[in-house]
Assembly symmetry: C2
Homo-oligomer: 420 residues x 2
């Protein structure tokens, strides 16, 4: 690698001549002296010079004498610099990357993602996203889960029917997987506990701030649970692990965005769906966004928790593979986790007896044939199990307070956007 | 979770009454006594009983007194067991899962993957695969890389033209990404060092033991390299980290398969392409499988290494974004890593100047338009960089000695197979 010191370590080298490398973030010319601010992956370095300054976004290597300087970024600056340009930009960025507030609207940012994401405020959510995933895996590894990679091309569009992308598979019709649901359940029979981090696809015809055509799903599925409460306990660990990892791995991004990270209570409060309805004074078969916000406020007020489980959703509103609540006809062992006013995670206990799958499909008037490959796993003995799926971009948006889910994806795909 | 002791810890509980849970792996009836062998994710437990035995693959919870027993798996067995059946199979497995050798051909295994993969010999490669990925990430995290998740749906089928899957994207044509190449390069401009573990898609019309329509690619891309040798050094670290992780995280799978894991030399030997040709006495513009085998044998014989870099492939055989060798016209800074006779990884230094991309496309007679989104990243200042991609299934097959790459994928997709 090009031998260099990272920006964040510069102050440790005071009095020595060192080399840094990165992009020209900003040029500031004063009367007698100029400042060249260089950005590397760890932060910013300021060099003081009277020489001509390369254009912003030039890639440079700068060798100079480190001098402590309380007002410089990182508390030190480079003096007497020799500046070598490794690559010159041939185009100016669509907006100034050094502005403290991003001076561009979302379409401009997305159209120019490769350069726009260099802005520290736009890069930070993606660093938080990466740290979150690392914490998710770390937690589930610790709990004895095995990581799996499942097919993204599937034969039938079974899980939710609508909103699937169709493709030509060697002359046969096929579809992009909307979730690894069936595969992860089948793998409980092999590994007992599994997780997957991977893309899922929804041909989502709505153009909203909350929908993407491709997103990253953090999926887990756990065998030998007693019921959905064991799944909720593991989800609590996963969320706590994600936040812990953000604190440890992405402190600079947290600071850049000025975030206050939530605390995860040792036990996240939970209300039953019917109780949630009673409290909010509604009796629709599902919770509205307004109810979810009200419940989140209530949990914060009453329990000091930014997280709230809603359990026992009506069977009619959950997928056919959901396990019913044995003590409460019509209600399920399915749950949602609300976070700051929005549903963040859906999960639950699943059916595990083959006969229950056959009966559940019959009760919904659905044919068994399209599910035969799926059902086969349950013909061979499956333990009580359950799982959950966290939408990574949705998580990142909630955590960072971004207005649009597209700010939590590198190169978002939506109804209109297929590039860059 | 269902309260239980894992099989691997049973011996620590000698003299106590404990509960285990898992699948009935095998039933053995002798004259006066029967053995029930239960399989959980950690191994096998034997229970001694005179009670009736549940069918194989029944899910059971067994409570009994632990007695040390040198000839039992794990050195202990359960006596006086109470057996509770949590789920019964409704179909027998397609073959006996307890046989020491898998008594089935590959098509049977693949057709019945959800149950067939329960066989310890078929599960082990997937455990080794998961451990390898964990080691890959661990190494690159340590080296300051940021994990990214890039689009799998792309606008144009640019990278290699042929063998792409076409899909209907809200009424527009689109394609499944064959690699994250362009995205990961663009993200060097944002994070300097990135990696991605994700699916890639090849509409591979050949039905061979080496090709999959979807596989998992371990991609890395690194900025501020001096040249391809820095990329090779990071790849060496990644491979060593993968093997170290397999040793640590999957020792049971290594033992089940009786594997001898390779050592990675502190510096992997490297030969230039022209030297490889000279030694093998051929002068085709690419290396044949026979040459790759010969070179691997040579590296083992001469350097005691199961790994060998071949560097300096002719520019004509590498993608247009490959950086030429400045000192040797016609040759590139692209390399392959051979492992046990086969190419395992392709990598190299890439072009980083915008003008060089424009010139490279012109030299190949290719239009600039389809690459405009890609080239835009280079218009804004990109450092010297390079990277590599490891095919996870290919790695696992080489490591485990499996005959067919389909044994290293959970639910392989190929010319004929789209389910389960």
């Amino acid at each position: 690698m090009i031998s260099r010191v990272m920006s964040a370590e510069l102050a440790e080298h005071a009095g020595r001549r060192v080399t840094i490398a990165g992009w020209v973030h900003r040029r500031r010319r004063l009367k007698s002296v100029s400042f060249l601010v260089v950005r590397d992956r760890a932060g910013l370095v300021q060099a003081v010079t009277s020489a001509p300054l390369p254009a912003e976004e030039s890639v440079v290597r700068v060798t100079g004498l480190v001098r402590a300087s309380p007002q410089a970024p990182g508390g030190a600056e480079l003096t007497e610099p020799e500046i070598e340009v490794l690559a010159e930009p041939v185009e100016a960025p669509p907006f100034d990357l050094y502005r403290p507030v991003v001076p561009a609207a979302l379409p401009t940012i997305l159209d120019h993602a490769p350069v726009a994401l260099r802005h520290p405020l736009l890069r930070a959510p993606l660093e938080i996203s990466a740290a979150s995933v690392a914490g998710f895996r770390e937690t589930l590894d610790r709990l004895g889960c095995t990581e799996i990679h499942t097919p993204k091309i599937v034969e039938s569009a079974t899980e939710s029917g609508a909103n699937v992308f169709a493709l030509d598979y060697f002359g046969r019709p096929a579809y992009l997987a909307q979730s690894p649901q069936f595969f992860k359940q089948a793998m409980v029979g092999v590994f007992e506990r599994v997780y997957e981090v991977g893309p899922v696809f929804r041909a989502e015809p709505h153009d909203t701030a909350r929908h993407l055509a491709q997103y990253t799903s953090l999926d887990a599925e756990l065998g030998f649970v007693r019921d959905h409460r064991d799944v909720m306990a593991v989800l609590r660990e996963a969320v706590a692990g994600m936040l812990e990892s953000v604190r440890h791995r992405a402190p600079a991004a947290v600071e850049t965005l000025g975030l206050r990270l939530p605390e995860v209570p040792a036990e996240i409060p939970a209300v039953h769906f019917t109780e949630a309805q009673r409290m909010t004074g509604e009796d629709e078969p599902d919770l509205s966004p307004a109810q979810e916000r009200w419940l989140s406020d209530w949990a914060l007020r009453e329990h000091g928790s930014e997280f709230l489980f809603v359990t026992g959703y009506p069977m009619s509103k959950r997928p056919f593979y959901t396990h019913p609540d044995p003590g409460r006809p019509g209600y399920s062992n399915g749950f949602d986790l609300l976070f700051r006013g929005l549903e963040l995670v859906t999960g639950g206990q699943r059916l595990h007896h083959h006969r229950d799958y056959v009966a559940a499909l019959a009760a919904r008037g659905e044919p068994v044939e399209p599910y035969e490959g799926y059902l086969r796993a349950f013909a061979h003995g499956m333990p009580p199990h359950g799982g959950f799926a966290i939408g990574l971009e949705r998580w990142t948006v909630r955590l960072t307070g971004a207005a649009n889910i597209r700010q939590a994806a590198l190169f978002p795909r939506d109804l209109h956007r297929l590039s860059p």
